[in-house]
């Protein structure tokens, strides 16, 4: 079962933080289809999160088809986050490792790499939208 935590002073709305944490758990295999998510009451008791926030997060997850609410028994994981085939993942990772190596050779530090990656991702997002 996942344990949620909310960064109280963060800019990301609390319900999105919960959604992200579920997605992360799915991606990392901590949650698998058929698993039950904690009830709203359990999340409130464990993490001190507003029950409406938890409900909103679960509704969001339900809308994108990751979980389903079963009448009277709770919320269950329905799907997993199938990103790409394992072989493709291995290849992409190897490419990225090579790129990072190059970046370090060029004198970039971790922070520079993060900034660059963020800018590229943002630019890519713009390209898709327009």
């Amino acid at each position: 079962m996942v344990e949620f935590r909310v960064d109280r002073s963060g800019g990301l709305p609390a319900y999105l933080q919960l959604v992200q944490q579920v997605r992360e758990a799915l991606r990392l295999g901590w949650l698998a289809p058929g698993d039950r998510l904690p009830t709203v009451r359990e999340v409130v008791a464990a993490s001190g999160v507003n029950p409406n926030t938890v409900l909103k997060a679960y509704r969001e997850l339900e809308l994108v088809g990751l979980v389903e609410a079963r009448q009277g028994s709770g919320t269950y994981v329905k799907a997993t986050l199938g990103t790409a085939s394992p072989e493709l993942m291995v290849e992409l990772r190897a490419q990225l490792e090579k790129w990072v190596h190059g970046a370090r050779q060029a004198g970039l530090e971790d922070e520079d790499i993060h900034a660059l990656l963020g800018a590229v991702l943002a630019g890519d997002m713009k390209g898709k939208e327009s």
């Binding site: 909310v6 960064d7 109280r8 002073s9 963060g10 800019g11 990301l12 709305p13 609390a14 319900y15 999105l16 933080q17 709203v40 009451r41 409130v44 008791a45 993490s47 001190g48 999160v49 507003n50 029950p51 409406n52 926030t53 409900l55 909103k56 963020g118 800018a119 943002a122 630019g123 713009k126 939208e129």
Partner: protein, 292 residues
Amino acid sequence: MSDGIAVTVDDLGKRYRRWPHGSVWALRHCSFELPAGVVAALVGMNGAGKTTLMSVVTGLLAPTEGAVRLGDDASRVSFVAQDKPLYRHFSVTDMLKVGASLNRVWDQRRALRWLERFQIPLDRPCGRLSGGQQAQVAFAIALGSCPSLLLLDEPLSNLDPLARREVTKELLGEVADTGLTVLLSTHVVAELGGVADHLLLLAAGTLLEQGDVDDLLASHVRYVGPRSDTSPGPGQILQARHTDRQSTFLVRLASDSAPRVDPPWTTQTVTLEDLVLVRLEMARSGVRGVAA
């Protein structure tokens, strides 16, 4: 959690007469609605009118103008005042009996559960409890009266950090269990994330901002980029800051627009604290009319 409205506040105003200095409006033109089951934070600096607003909603204070309407399923209101007053010579058990005596509906087990959770000695006179323990007794009485709307004036102010966390958690548990609507006043915005889902921002007796916290955060964004006099993206500028090389714009987006900037500009999310501080600053410098 019902879809109803817990309380509707309509053009509320409260004027205090301060003889011989005429009168002052502690609250003016306040209108808002709280959906049932929300946890709303009433944020404002000291003297903004938070206590006045709560006292009027509670019914302890008659408004000078406007009206407060309680929803059909929110007819029971409890109020815990900022100083958490108790009868000093009464034991905790006697204080619970006061609560039971003054209310048509009383849940003794609920009140006792709260006291047990925080290990409050029942036989001790309230005057000999610590400030934090007194606050717990006040909360227990408020919950014992089975409110559908609970108003808490600076509920966490007397508590140590651990107790703040625990009280928050337990209160949210009560919300989850009973669908209770909570309105709590505070000036510590940093602790509200994940706790409050609704914001009422009050300054000098006027509501500056109100609404769902997530919606508010989603509709504000910060653009960061090279020095510029104009905003690089859509939205109404609430705050512009410049250094020699860099400019930062905090903007409010129209409901249907998304932040859209070209590189090298980047967007950053806005925290609740950022938003509150910017709005208070604007209010102080006299900018009032930000269209919602």
